[in-house]
């Protein structure tokens, strides 16, 4: 569904993403993990058109999307959430979600957009706060709204940038169930997450990013036991270091 081929993104002398290739298959729930600064958010920014890749090619359902603007990419059926939540604070929760519904397709009426927005709000369980100003929501509710707004665009591919991070455990359980429901509806998901246990529980396939390059990919069980992955997160065991020196 989404093919990233030999993509490189350079910021001056810094290689944020280095010759990265990654495939997301239809109906897959793919998890991307990696230590801080590995290039995870940059990867999403490159896919969604906020950054143009320095080299390489990205195709979505056979259509080349690198170099397209974010609004064009949205209309192709890709939605994303942001790591730092970005709801529209001076609009009501419903209006936030409606904005997602209104512009992702041409010629949708306000009434239809409202229905679709309510559906999305109900799905993430904040429909009871539809009239509240988004700026007045708690962080947890803002994260749900961010998700609802992305869902209101009716995406076929959903890109999630650390939706769980910073949430209390009860919210994390909710969000995990929610993501499973969204996935079960036929939405392909690529999720970046710092919480490794969430990825292990949800993802069918895990991609480990380190210094902008692929470190390892495979099924969740293999990933957490892979020595290089452990090393990238925790460093080498002392015995190994002693043996080397």
């Amino acid at each position: 569904m989404l093919e990233i081929e030999h993509v490189t993104k350079r910021f001056g002398g810094l290689l944020a993403i280095n010759d990265l290739s990654l495939t997301v298959k239809k109906n897959q729930l793919l998890g991307v993990i990696g230590p801080n600064g590995a290039g995870k958010t940059t990867l999403l920014n490159v896919i969604t058109g906020y950054f143009r890749p320095s080299q390489g090619k990205i195709t979505f359902e056979g259509e080349r999307i690198d170099g397209k603007a974010p609004y064009e990419i949205c209309r192709l059926g890709i939605a994303r959430t942001f790591q730092v939540v970005q709801p529209f604070p001076e609009m009501s929760v419903l209006d936030n979600a409606m904005t997602g519904a209104l512009f992702s397709r041409e010629g949708i009426t306000i009434r239809k957009a409202r229905d679709r927005a309510m559906e999305a709000l109900e799905m993430v369980d904040i429909a009871h706060q539809a009239d509240v100003m988004a700026g007045a929501l708690t962080l947890g509710a803002k994260k749900k709204l961010e998700l609802a707004r992305a869902l209101a665009t009716q995406p076929r591919l959903l890109l999630l940038d650390e939706v769980m991070a910073g949430s209390p455990q009860s919210d994390i359980d909710d969000l995990m169930k929610l993501l499973q429901r969204i996935h079960a509806k036929g939405v392909t998901i690529l999720m970046i997450e710092h919480l490794v246990h969430v990825i292990i529980a949800l993802a069918q396939h895990v991609f480990v990013l380190n210094f902008g390059q692929e470190l390892f990919q495979g099924n969740p069980g293999d990933v957490i036991s892979h020595p290089e992955v452990i090393e990238s997160y925790l460093g080498k065991p002392l015995e190994a270091l002693a043996a080397e020196s």
């Binding site: 969604t48 906020y50 603007a69 974010p70 609004y71 949205c74 209309r75 939605a79 994303r80 942001f82 970005q86 709801p87 529209f88 604070p89 001076e90 609009m91 009501s92 209006d95 409606m98 904005t99 997602g100 209104l102 512009f103 992702s104 397709r105 949708i108 306000i110 957009a113 706060q129 009239d131 509240v132 100003m133 700026g135 007045a136 929501l137 708690t138 707004r149 992305a150 665009t153």
Partner: protein
């Protein structure tokens, strides 16, 4: 909803017919309030999309000069001259939208200020075309009665109000507010910022130019200092801010309040000096203590009354009714 529109329609027609029954001295007031309503609505439309303009006199002046020039050079009558005025305003606003690209906030404001000053200098430097610093009178033979000008001003102001109301019911309104709140997040929802920026500024520019175009027929004389007067720019934002920025009724109420205040201080405190000082002080304190304007303060008060002080809870801030 339908009853509401009917009330607005009746009110609108009454306002347009007002110059027929009001005493002739009122024509001046109708013209001033009507022009300011148009300017304020125009400014507020752009502000709704996050585009704070510090140069609405640019559109005002372009409209004035366009109407004056087609009248003097081509002999176009009053009504016909307003069309090129609007077109010039819309086209120049669209050009500014493209040129300023993604500039927002203070950066956009400064570029608008520069545009206005730049146009003023151009008007001074091209005396053959614009009459230059000496100014130029509009062809007296073509001038309609002040009553006609006042009626047309009232009509245009009402029309601008209806356009603003109609826009508030369309997806356009959602796109503008989303862009104002967070342009990059809006883009991820399928909003092409440039397209909406061009649309909203063109509309805003056309309205302000129309106000300028109507006014030149009333005043009869134009020079670059009058056409691109900073005072117009300031009034264009004081009225909506005083009335309630980002609201529908705000610019209209603000226009009435601003002119009313200026007249009241002038009549009560004499022609110059003290009256202007008091007028300025009242404006400063109103904006200091009512940052949401008259409409915003009213809405807060109504909400406060309706739910009572005791049950005021965080997270229940409802969307404003007006």
């Amino acid at each position: 909803m339908k009853a509401r529109i009917a009330i607005f329609l009746v009110l609108g027609v009454a306002v347009i017919l007002l110059p027929l029954i009001a005493p002739p001295v009122m024509n001046n007031m109708i013209l001033r309030v009507g022009s300011l309503v148009m300017l304020a609505i125009s400014w507020n439309l752009a502000a709704n999309a996050g585009l704070i303009s510090l140069g609405h006199s640019a559109f005002w002046g372009l409209g004035s000069y366009a109407a004056l020039l087609v009248a003097n050079k081509l002999g176009w009558p009053f009504f016909a001259s307003l069309i090129p005025a609007m077109i010039v305003g819309a086209i120049s606003a669209a050009a500014i939208a493209v040129i300023t690209g993604r500039l927002k906030g203070i950066f956009f404001a400064i570029s608008m200020l520069a545009l206005s000053e730049c146009l003023r200098v151009i008007a001074v430097m091209t005396p053959g075309f614009t009459g230059g610093g000496a100014g130029v009178f509009i062809d007296q033979a073509l001038r309609p009665s002040t009553q006609t000008v006042a009626m047309v001003t009232a009509f245009c102001a009402v029309a601008c109000g209806f356009i603003a109301y109609w826009i508030s019911l369309t997806p356009f309104h959602y796109a503008c507010r989303a862009m104002r709140n967070n342009e990059s997040a809006a883009e991820m929802l399928g909003i092409n910022p440039l397209r909406f920026r061009i649309a909203v500024l063109s509309l805003s520019g056309a309205m302000a130019s129309l106000a300028g175009g109507v006014n030149i027929w009333y005043s009869g004389f134009l020079d670059p200092m009058i056409g691109f007067d900073l005072h117009v720019t300031i009034l264009a934002q004081i009225a909506p801010i005083l009335g309630g920025i980002h609201t529908l009724a705000g610019p209209i109420i603000g226009a009435f309040a601003t002119i009313g205040l200026s007249e009241a201080t002038r009549i009560l405190l004499g022609e110059q000096g003290v009256s202007l000082l008091v007028y300025g002080l009242i404006l400063v304190f109103s904006i200091l203590y009512m940052p949401k304007g008259i409409v915003g303060t009213w809405n807060t008060w109504v909400q406060y009354r309706s739910r009572g002080a005791a049950s005021a809870k965080v997270g229940t801030t409802k969307a404003a009714p007006l």
